[in-house]
């Protein structure tokens, strides 16, 4: 009985953790690699979720339709980054407080637009597999968690390979370190940052579709995820893409265990406690290179 509870808590934790990783992946790029504190990222994800519901209502599969949507988000991310860098970075030293204020404002604007467009009610998707489960011995995995959870390892692997093996990926890993090193290499650092921010935004379209399969969401659903997303990125180690998956799962499993054997009301504090512990004891995170 207790073993069954444990096994199910762990499996649910792993699945939730994968979804946390998917939510945080764009932040691992914008904050982890570019050092831009994009607290609006979870709201980007919620926007992706609402976009998925719109197309799902027309009969499209939310995850499949999120792929072309990712291209749209990529373009929007580039345009948004251009706006951000015009305002802040070109004034001289980029100021973190000013950037946070901007991203906070952007979150509020996007939330308002979502409320005006869709109302404050919850929205959900309609897919065949919701309600069904995969049963492996004592472990029961609902498809509404399992399918979106699989998105995370796929996205993490694709992004990791891209950053590791492509020329643009090498440049993205270098740009936060020293823009002049890129300039003297004949690479435009401004383009690389726009491109990377576009990729971060594109992940939000896919993660948003995954999120809304898990359960219904409202325009303010991003707020709950901000702390957890930053916890995942910092626990992973700034800029570590595979670390994002490990950190997400670690947080997810811990939350599930605390929920199952402690009290579910403690679960929201788990991510933040782990964030503070990481900052106190291992600021470079699980996989972070000492910078």
């Amino acid at each position: 009985m207790i073993l069954e509870l444990l096994a199910n808590a762990i499996s649910t934790g792993v699945l939730l953790g994968c979804i946390y990783a998917a939510l945080a992946l764009g932040l691992a790029v914008s904050f982890g690699l570019l050092h831009i504190p994009n607290i609006a990222h979870p709201v980007f994800v919620v926007t992706g979720a609402f976009a998925a519901t719109v197309f799902n209502a027309m009969g499209f599969d939310p995850l499949l339709v999120s792929l072309p949507l990712a291209l749209v988000f990529y373009g929007a991310g580039i345009a948004f980054f251009e706006f951000y860098s015009r305002i802040y970075e070109k004034r001289g030293e980029s100021d973190t407080m000013q950037a946070l204020t901007l991203f906070f404002g952007v979150s509020l604007v996007i939330e308002t637009v979502l409320v005006m467009q869709f109302g404050a009610d919850q929205r959900s998707t309609d897919v065949d597999y919701v309600g069904q489960s995969l049963t492996l011995g004592p472990v029961v995995m609902p498809y509404r968690l399992l399918i979106p959870a699989l998105v995370a390892p796929v996205m993490v692997t694709a992004l990791w390979l891209y950053l590791k093996y492509t020329y643009a990926g090498i440049a993205i890993r270098a740009v936060a370190h020293d823009e002049r090193a890129l300039s003297v290499s004949g690479i435009d650092p401004g383009w690389i940052k726009r491109h990377a921010f576009g990729i971060a935004a594109a992940t939000a379209a896919i993660s948003g579709a995954a999120l809304v399969i898990v359960g219904p969401i409202d325009p303010f659903a991003g707020r709950m995820q901000i702390g957890r997303a930053f916890a995942v990125v910092i626990l992973a180690g700034m800029g570590s893409i595979p670390g994002t998956l490990a950190a997400g799962i670690l947080i997810g499993v811990t939350e599930a265990l605390v929920g199952a054997f402690g009290s579910p009301s403690w679960a929201p504090a788990v991510a933040f406690t782990m964030l503070l512990a990481t900052l106190a004891f291992k600021p470079s995170g699980l996989f972070g290179a000492a910078r």
């Binding site: 440049a171 270098a174 290499s185 004949g186 690479i187 435009d188 650092p189």
Partner: protein, 245 residues
């Protein structure tokens, strides 16, 4: 005549003017040394050529194969793509990338891209040390090794003119000798056109075909090997005399 030409250049930092009316040229196949003691504006001049410092007056142009490209005011990466590569002061490698990744980063810019594999093979042939250490992070290499990596990285940009800023800084004398040998070897074998700033002028002058002496942001002397051997004592007087004044 193929050449990099700098005419009437003025540049500085904010209200501080450093370069005053600097005019120099570097012809195809030449090895030109820019000599001067600390703080006389050598790096400022090279960085202005690369667009890293914006000039307030004057022009920088690359006249090559019947084409004249005005580089004044272009962004640094655009200037590199026109064929001017730099080994900058402080090297500016990416310490968290491996040797190969640092090279590929530069090699992947549009100019180097078509021949990136050949260029990488050439760098590894020329500097076997880099090949042995290709997976090592650049930040963990010694100063001399990093200097050679910075030179190789500039070669990955497939340069028409190679600009080198004080390759001897921070290196032990024996390592300086090795770095200069590598540069001289490159210049001979690849017929590279080189503009190099240096203050340890003995080694620099031995490899250079021409030298400009810089003081307080001006060119105060031009020495040409074609006019006879470049006289060490004379350069020393030119550099030290004005520096002391």
């Amino acid at each position: 005549m193929n050449r990099l030409v700098i005419e009437g250049l003025h540049a500085g930092y904010g209200a501080v003017t450093v370069l005053r009316d600097v005019s120099i040229e570097v012809r195809e196949g030449e090895f030109v040394a820019l000599l001067g003691t600390n703080g006389n504006g050598k790096s400022t001049l090279l960085n202005t050529v690369l667009g890293l410092v914006k000039p307030t007056a004057g022009r920088v142009a690359l006249e090559w194969d019947g084409r004249s490209v005005d580089l004044t005011g272009l962004a640094p990466h655009a200037i590199v793509r026109e064929g001017i590569a730099i080994v900058p002061e402080g090297r500016r490698l990416v310490p968290t990338l491996s040797v190969t990744e640092n090279l590929l980063l530069a090699g992947s810019s549009p100019r180097g891209r078509p021949a990136i594999d050949d260029n990488l093979a050439y760098c590894f042939d020329t500097f076997p040390m880099l090949k042995e250490r290709r997976a090592q992070l650049a930040g963990t290499m010694s100063g001399g090794q990093q200097q050679l990596l910075a030179i190789a990285r500039a070669l990955m940009c497939a340069p028409t003119v190679l600009v080198i800023d004080e390759p001897s800084v921070g290196l032990a004398p024996i390592v300086v000798g090795q770095v200069f040998e590598a540069i001289a070897h490159l210049q001979e074998t690849a017929r590279l056109t080189i503009l190099m700033a240096e203050q340890s002028f003995f080694q620099a002058v031995d490899v250079a075909s021409r030298a400009y002496v810089m003081s307080h942001g001006r060119i105060i002397r031009t020495l040409d090997r074609a006019d006879g051997a470049i006289d060490h004592a004379e350069i020393r007087r030119a550099m030290m005399g004005v520096a002391a004044a």
